[in-house]
């Protein structure tokens, strides 16, 4: 038996080795792994990096919405302006070399970079923006992969452009407010003052596209590929092969790019079904940048080192924990019989121990929110929402002031959230905090689609939501979440003075004065606690020790154009 046993062990080991020798023999150099060696000082050209994404819905800019697709769109297109990788509240020129609004910010004139070119060498003209933007607005726009009507779901970016509604309503084919004055001058007329419009036009969806390529397809190995499968843009990278669905999207440096040429030869956006699988690949050294798997953040920080600024990957500081421009909050339904009482809402907000949630559920990698505006947004003031803090005595007092001392007289409230997405633990802590002041709650969890429908129907009482900024401006938060006309105002907060003030803020062309105005509006809203901000989201990402100067900014965009790799110094 002993002899047989030895044979068995030998056979198993031999089979394993055989498989590996035969099939893994051409294995590549490891790309991830622990960082030990310092960065070389001089950036150098060459090499490529891999980056985790989920399967995008679209990579054609006209429907670029989710983060996956937008990473690619951002790499292969340049919109008029761009966010600075270190501070997204600062704008830098992109396709537009300069721009200016008129006195009341209703007309914007963009002067395009005359050297701007698409990947095929065709100059970028103002008319390419006119075509691209009308394509977004027009509900008859077809999907290039199917030839069927597939309207853009992100046309709201152009909601203030003059003539937008007419195009949506089918009364016009093009927006009156988008004009190519000449090849390099684009003039945009808005229906109202919008001083932050320069941030809106940084969105990757609003990039120029070549009409010929959209309508006829892109040449690839002698055949025409639908534009949506292999979009060609004016950005630092370009696609040289079509999107391999559920597997990868590969881009290479665009040598026609008008801006500073990228150092990387290319980027492979590797598509994974979930972050856990991607993180396993990262740990195996087969991926350069990914999300850190659930429950592994502290380990990753210890193993790979934390980035000092929270956004830049370099050897030994590879784990990114920088704040994102997004906030997790509790909706308090202002139409509810009990929650319409401002003191009840105040009590709810004061009762929640946000720090405990961040520590217990998120290993300290989220920050307690003291405002709906995240710290990276102009207009944020620390502690502006005075009741967005943990003060149990003040919470009890507020409840008593509301006429419900120790919660007497209040019914059991519904605490709603979407199930199976990790919100259970947060809600358990919220439930226990509210119970401590006498507010009884019961869980009302539902599958995500059901939950969204419930919110849409206004059936909720206390419910969770998150807001991720489209653009790093206060207006994007305050209008969407609190303006009574906004569909995203799920707390049904209504304050006509606030509505007017939010619109008025956009008439202020001085950025500092505008930020001050929004800070004031933010404080006014905060005093009424229409919602209870809970946490600011933070990155939980990690890069390999090959990467140098790779920025992953607060807007969730990777800046591949400035990154480089150093295989020699990597472990």
């Amino acid at each position: 038996m002993q002899g047989k046993h030895r044979k068995l062990v030998a056979a198993v080991v031999a089979l394993g080795l055989l498989a590996s020798v035969g099939l893994g023999g051409c294995a590549p150099k490891q790309t991830g792994g622990e960082a030990t060696k310092p960065a070389t000082s001089e950036p150098k050209k060459g090499g490529s990096m891999s980056f985790y994404i989920g399967e995008p819905a679209y990579i054609d800019p006209y429907n670029a919405q989710e983060t996956e697709g937008m990473q690619i769109t951002q790499a292969i297109f340049d919109s008029l302006t761009n966010f600075d990788e270190k501070d997204p509240t600062k704008l830098i020129p992109a396709a537009a070399a300069s721009w200016e609004p008129n006195a009341d910010a209703t007309v914007w004139t963009f002067k395009l970079d005359p050297n701007g070119k698409f990947a095929d060498g065709t100059p970028v003209k103002a008319s390419d923006f006119v075509y691209a933007w009308n394509r977004i607005a027009n509900p008859k726009t077809v999907n290039t992969a199917t030839g069927k009507a597939d309207p853009s779901i992100i046309s709201y970016h152009l909601g203030f452009v003059k003539g937008f509604q007419e195009v949506v309503d089918g009364k016009a084919d093009t927006m009156e407010g988008v004009k190519a004055v000449d090849d390099t001058t684009l003039e945009i007329t808005l229906t109202q003052s919008f001083a932050d419009f320069e941030y809106v036009v940084a969105h990757p969806a609003l990039a120029p596209v070549e009409q010929k390529l959209v309508e006829e397809g892109v040449d690839y190995n002698g055949e025409k590929i639908p534009f949506g499968e292999m979009p060609q843009g004016n950005g630092p990278f370009k696609m040289t092969e079509p999107w391999k669905h559920n597997q990868y999207v590969k881009v290479v440096r665009n040598d026609s790019y008008a801006g500073t040429a990228a150092l990387l030869d290319g980027v492979e956006f590797k598509i994974f079904k979930d972050p856990e699988t991607a993180y396993t690949e990262f740990e195996a050294g087969n991926l350069d940048f990914t999300q850190i798997g659930e429950g592994k953040i502290k380990d990753a920080v210890a193993k790979y080192g934390e980035s000092k600024d929270g956004y830049t990957v370099n050897p030994g500081s590879q784990a990114l924990l920088g704040a994102e421009n997004s906030t997790y909050y509790l909706i308090l339904n202002n139409k509810n019989e009990f929650l319409k009482n401002a003191d009840v809402r105040k009590a709810v907000s004061l009762a929640i121990n946000r720090q405990a949630i961040c520590d217990v559920v998120f290993e300290g990698t989220r920050e307690p929110a003291d405002n709906i505006l995240p710290p990276g947004i102009a207009g944020y003031e620390k502690g502006a929402w005075v009741d967005s803090k943990y003060d149990i005595e003040a919470a009890k007092q507020a409840l008593a002031d509301a006429g419900y001392p120790e919660g007497k007289g209040l019914p059991t409230m519904k605490l709603s959230f979407n199930s199976g997405a990790g919100h259970e633990k947060i809600m358990e802590l919220v439930q226990s905090d509210l119970k401590a002041i006498g507010i009884k709650t019961e869980f009302d969890s539902a599958d995500f689609p059901v939950y969204l429908k419930q919110l849409d129907e206004g059936k909720h009482q206390i419910a969770r939501l998150g807001w991720v900024a489209d653009y790093p401006i206060a207006y994007n938060f305050l209008y969407a979440i609190f303006d009574s006309k906004s569909g995203d105002n799920k707390s049904f907060y209504k304050n006509e003075a606030v509505d007017a003030a939010i619109a008025e803020g956009q008439t202020i062309t001085d950025a500092t004065a505008r930020a001050a105005k929004y800070a004031e509006i933010d404080k006014t809203i905060g005093a009424e606690n229409p919602i209870a901000p809970l946490m600011f989201y933070k990155h939980h990402h990690v890069g390999s020790d090959r990467l140098r100067d790779f920025d992953f900014d607060a807007m969730y965009f990777g800046h591949f154009e400035k990154a480089w790799v150093d295989d020699a110094a990597a472990k």
């Binding site: 597939d150 559920n246 990868y248 195996a284 087969n286």
Partner: protein, 336 residues
């Protein structure tokens, strides 16, 4: 035989109608069935865009009208300019990606088939082989080993086994051999590995439980057949053990194993969600799972339709294969 095949195809029609009809009813009556909202996530779609998309995808129609439209689009022959013409199968358009379901299936199904065949080959070679060895060498070390291994395999969760294989063959081996020898742990192709290398770990994972069952069925069937009179007669006639096994015992013992493996292949053609997820395999199983979550009904209906046809064809082939294994089995007539 042709009558049998025709009868089986006709039998498929009520199955097809039953499954798809039930699916349409469930999709329409389940709560929160708002695929347009899902496309917007936590944001609220502009009402006019939402209304347009609802009309575009026919979501404003009653469920039975949607069902008839689905059947009409599925039927590949239509009247064009007063003449019958082949118009192709239309399974609709994904609400989430705007791409046709046929396109999406065309991209995912080849990977599902590749994985299924690789897993079935493992199942046939290892499962049947181990079962035969176990039965022939009953109560030996190998019998105990096969019995023990199959007991462990059937109780191992697939995702756990997949993760372990990834760690051992993708991470540890890479480290132990200084990156010289290891296997890819996810995806279906890459610049560093050929497609065959990519399929090994997912196929082993997918085949694990079924291989164990195949081995057990093979063992028990072979032991049962070995006890039959005609086997004793064959031995008494002086045939060698090998001749008895290959010429007499195995053919009879294989029928239940073939049934099991055939049904398993059909199930694998319906996608292996767990294996595909663990190994990031771009197959139809995960596509369907994601579509269900996103309430992307055209993809769900199209995917299920494709699976129904695949399972029906596999089952038919399995039934036909019986005739080759056991000449006594005749279709459409009286058994001889």
């Amino acid at each position: 035989m042709p009558q049998y095949i025709a009868r089986r195809i006709l039998q498929f029609i009520p199955v097809f109608i039953g499954v798809t009809l039930a699916l349409f009813m469930i999709a329409n009556f389940m709560p929160g069935a708002d695929p347009i909202q899902m496309r917007y996530g936590e944001r609220t779609p502009p009402p006019e865009v939402k209304a347009q998309l609802i009309e575009e995808y026919g979501l404003n129609l009653p469920w039975y009208q949607q069902y008839f439209k689905y059947l009409d689009d599925l039927w590949p022959i239509d009247v064009v300019d007063g003449k019958l013409a082949y118009t192709g199968v239309d399974l609709g358009t994904s609400i989430y990606t705007g791409r046709t379901v046929v396109q999406m299936l065309g991209e995912t199904y080849p990977y599902t088939i590749r994985l299924a065949f690789a897993a079935i080959i493992i199942e046939i070679i290892i499962g049947i082989g181990a079962g035969i060895i176990s039965a022939v060498k009953q109560y030996s070390f190998w019998d105990v080993f096969v019995t023990l291994t199959t007991s462990i395999l059937v109780s191992l969760p697939v995702f756990w086994l997949g993760l372990m294989l990834q760690i051992v063959f993708g991470i540890w081996m890479k480290s132990w051999t200084n990156e010289a020898f290891y296997l890819p742990i996810s995806g279906a192709e890459s610049t560093n590995f050929g497609p065959m290398a990519h399929v090994i770990l997912p196929a082993v994972t997918l085949a694990s439980v079924s291989t164990a069952y195949a081995a057990r069925i093979m063992r028990s069937q072979l032991l049962e057949v070995n006890g039959q009179d005609y086997i004793r007669t064959a031995r008494a006639k002086g045939l060698s053990g090998r001749q008895v096994l290959w010429s007499h015992a195995l053919k009879n013992a294989l029928i239940p194993v073939v049934t099991f493996i055939g049904l398993d292949l059909g199930a694998m053609f319906a996608g292996a969600v767990l294996t595909e997820t663990v190994f990031n395999w771009p197959g139809v199983g995960f596509m369907l799972a994601r579509a269900i979550f996103q309430r992307d009904f055209p993809v769900v209906f199209g995917g299920v339709t494709a699976m129904l046809f695949a399972v029906m064809i596999i089952n038919l082939l399995v039934d036909i294969s019986y005739a080759f294994l056991d000449p006594r089995i005749r279709y459409g007539g009286v058994s001889e």
